[in-house]
């Protein structure tokens, strides 16, 4: 068998928990780790007589994702009921969207190395989350705190061709939803949950193979490992002349393998029909306008702007767009900066000095004690030659620690770079008088002695002499 003879075809369905204050269809709050069943109300509990009312905040979130993925937005979509019995599903049905989803035909651009792959999205729709069952010995408990939390389900076309790509797609979606501020996207708390449809076919074949659905792959690592494992499993079966069963499989991260959960025959008939308790979901023009107004520049366009317009190195640009707060920080510093051509220098200071200090302290960029304006001001001092780069790093360290403005520190410490000739010429004169042998040696052709003179001037000024100006003056004086 050879994996190389086969080509995997992968489609992902990713559920993203939206960062609204209240649940999708009722006023209960949302909080991780609250006492079981404390975040419930008659609607969440599915009590007789309780009704759902859609939380428009969830619509804003879904629309932002729809617009950011270039989806077609349905002006009038609707909620349907998806029926199945399970104790974590209090009404016996989940409110979801079926035949008229909010968004269709979008795409998500994924950075693979330094290239961009466009992954088509079939749909993005709104739905509510289920609760959680907890099994303690022979007893099962139901916690409905999670029930009714708004989700979007993002469904890709079957266009992903490797486990790496799948994991990278998940990372890109993770970054995007954080970027848009529509989800906390905390992987540990299950804010992004992935199901993968995987099939394999021999290279060159057009027809898709029988697919299996992998459930419960809720981290980047598991997505990668589970899909990798499933591809190998399927190739081994097909290559051995076997047939793939259409089934749902559950990934067991501890065992590093999947096991069948249910076959196609056991699949539910969900009996979808439009929820008669909820009117059609209408996207009004003013809501759409607000979403468009609030939409930030997205990661991939921003990456392209950084590399193409600002001339940043691809790796630096990729790091900057890794997180919206960091990219925004950089943009704010750039906006405060008077010299537009020094974007690379600015990026350098932010990526090395600032991130270094933040990482060492375990602080997020959003909580940086130094404002973008302060970093810019410091870089200006270095760029204009007011202080040397070496001093600049010391000033940065002090400003980061104390919050004092770089300029104030420079003035107090008296470390301003000395660039004016009136001060430097007498100093150079003293150095030449004090070192006649070296002057003679230099003039005799020993050019390596030049750095000795620079060093002497630096020593005399405690490192404040402008090295460029000093070198020019020294050269001129030594000639004569």
């Amino acid at each position: 068998m050879s994996l190389d003879d086969f080509e995997p075809v992968i489609g992902l369905e990713i559920h993203v928990q939206l960062a609204t204050h209240a649940k999708a269809f009722s006023p209960s709050g949302i909080e991780f780790g609250a006492p079981p069943n404390s975040l419930t109300d008659p609607t969440v509990l599915g009590l007789p007589g309780a009704l759902p009312v859609f939380n428009a905040a969830a619509l804003q979130c879904a629309l932002a994702l729809g617009v950011a993925t270039g989806s077609q937005i349905r002006a009038r979509s609707r909620f349907s009921r998806k029926h199945y019995f399970y104790p974590d599903q209090p009404k016996g049905y989940q409110i979801s969207q079926f035949d008229e989803p909010l968004c269709e035909h979008g795409h998500l651009d994924v950075l693979l190395g330094n290239t961009v792959k466009r992954v088509e999205l079939q749909r993005i729709h709104l739905e509510e989350d289920a609760g959680k069952n907890m099994h303690v010995g022979s007893v099962s408990h139901v916690d409905l705190n999670r029930a009714g939390i708004p989700l979007v389900e993002v469904v890709t076309a079957p266009v992903i061709t490797s486990a790496d790509e799948a994991a990278e797609f998940m990372r890109s979606l993770h970054r995007l939803v954080r970027w848009l501020g529509i989800s906390e996207a905390d992987m540990e708390r299950g804010h992004l949950r992935c199901d993968a449809n995987v099939s394999v076919r021999r290279k060159g074949e057009d027809r898709l193979g029988t697919r299996t659905e992998l459930k419960n792959i809720n981290s980047f690592k598991f997505v990668q490992a589970a899909i990798e494992h499933e591809i190998t499993r399927q190739v081994r079966i097909v290559d051995g002349g076997g047939r793939i069963e259409r089934e749902t499989r559950l990934w067991d991260a501890n065992a590093g393998q999947s096991a069948p959960l249910r076959s196609k025959e056991e699949a539910n008939d969900y009996r979808y029909f439009p929820d008669p308790d909820l009117p059609p979901l209408v996207v009004e023009g003013r809501v759409m306008a607000e979403v468009l107004r609030m939409l930030p520049e997205l990661p991939v366009p921003r990456f392209q702007r950084y590399t193409q317009e600002l001339g940043l190195a691809a790796d630096d640009a990729k790091t900057l767009v890794g997180e919206r707060a960091l990219a925004d920080y950089f943009d704010a510093a750039l906006a405060a900066h008077p010299v537009k051509t020094s974007a690379r220098t600015l990026a350098n200071w932010i990526l090395t000095e600032l991130l270094g200090a933040l990482n060492a302290a375990g602080v997020e960029i959003a909580a940086s004690p130094m404002t973008p304006e302060t970093v810019s001001a410091l870089v200006v001092l270095v760029e204009t030659g007011a202080i040397s780069g070496k001093i600049g790093k010391e000033i940065f360290e002090e400003s980061y620690r104390t919050g004092e403005a770089p300029k104030t520190i420079v003035e107090r410490r008296g470390v301003t770079q000395i660039s004016d000739e009136a001060t430097l010429v007498p100093l150079i004169e003293q150095v030449i008088i004090a070192n006649p042998k070296q002057v003679e040696g230099y003039r005799g052709g020993k050019e390596s002695l030049f750095s000795f003179f620079v060093g002497q001037v630096m020593k005399a000024t405690q490192g404040r002499a402008n090295p460029v100006v000093t070198a020019e003056l020294l050269k001129a004086r030594l000639k004569g």
């Binding site: 008659p42 007789p48 007589g49 009704l51 209090p90 139901v142 009996r271 979808y272 008669p276 308790d277």
Partner: protein
Amino acid sequence: MSATIADVTRRIAAGEVTAEGLVDDAFARIGTIDPHLGAFLALDERGARQTARAIDKARSANEPLGPLAGVPIALKDNLVTKDLATTAGSRILEGWLPPYDAHVVEKLRAAGAIIIGKTNLDEFGMGSSTERSAFKPTKNPWDLSLVPGGSSGGSAAAVAANLCVASLGTDTGGSIRQPASFCGVVGLKPTYGRVSRWGVIAYASSLDQVGPITKTVADAAHLLQVIAGHDPRDATSLPTAVPNFAAALEAGVDGLRIGLPREYFGEGIDPGVRAALDETIEALRANGATIVDISLPHTHLALPAYYLVAPAEASSNLARYDGVRFGKRVEGVDLLDMYKRSRGAGFGPEVKRRIMLGTYALRAGYYDAYYKRAQQVRALIKRDFDEAFTRCDVIFTPVAPTPAFAFGAKANPVDMYLADVFTLSCNLAGLPGLSVPCGFTKAGLPVGAQLLGKPLDEATLLRTGAAIERWADITETPPGVATLEPKPDQGTQPS
């Protein structure tokens, strides 16, 4: 308890009676009559007394009183009441104590109404005789051998038997209007969305509506005034202003155009019903109304459409009764077994029948042929009415083809479904409908006339109904109940 809402509120305000005195009277009468009538599933004597005392105290302190202050009211038992058992007439909810009040119950309490108890109904509202209650039958106050109609049979019987001043029912396909007609009282199904469904135990969500069952049309207007209005907890509740329903009550029918749909006056109508309706039509004409012949050509599709839409929605709405969180649980060997046993033991045969019908209609690949098609028929029925209302202001029809029938007379489910043939269209089209007593059969059973109005035009229905009521003059105590009343000369209880 033969008093109307207007009587009670006036006498309480004047200090002629106390609310507590009324509560005493009501429970005394219920204690005598209801063991034989079966209108109530639960009584809240303690709660009622507490409310009554608060109202009496407020009155003596000259504090302002609500529009229903001291009025004893009964609620159909599919309206959720905080800490008061609510069963929807089903074993599956036996023992459940709701933690909240329905919107209409909040409104009633805020208006000073005294909630005395919960009335019997066909299980989850699925029936037309109240025989499908899981607990007991309710008898017709006019003749104890007959059904009171349904599904709001307990609410209609309680009002007719003077066990309360007024009640609330719910109407999905005629469940307020038909029992009102059978019991000789007034029943109003408001426009869909006029009254919040928050806390109404759902049967068919796109058809259900709460409404008053009262002794007079004026009382229906009064009660509707209290319960109507937008509620943000019900996404289908209309954000429309509520007019003053009492304002036009006395305006009469002079100049009104009243449509008679020929599809509603064909074969199969009981001659006694027909005669009472004919007399009423003559009276309307004599009082200045113009009688217009109209057609509602899709009427024959209402019954099949209803029996797709309602069971489909019911099969979904009843999925939450799974034995997990509330109500009946029968333990099983595993989860699936527990579901099957709980639902098997908890639901009655008619409910199971409709769950199966609805499940069938919604299964994958059949949605278009059944539910969607039925929704398209609804649109046609609605269009029939829109068309008709260009030619008339209100539509006049029978409520039911027959007066109250005997227990067991409609053992075949389809015969029972046919009893609703005149009331279903109103729900499918979302229109308001009023049932008002208009006369008697030769056997002395009350006959109701149905008035159907334009969306949100309850006012014209009430105005027309008030005129009919003045001529029909049904004020006597129903003879069935009269036999149950204590006879002072003998001092014995009826058996």
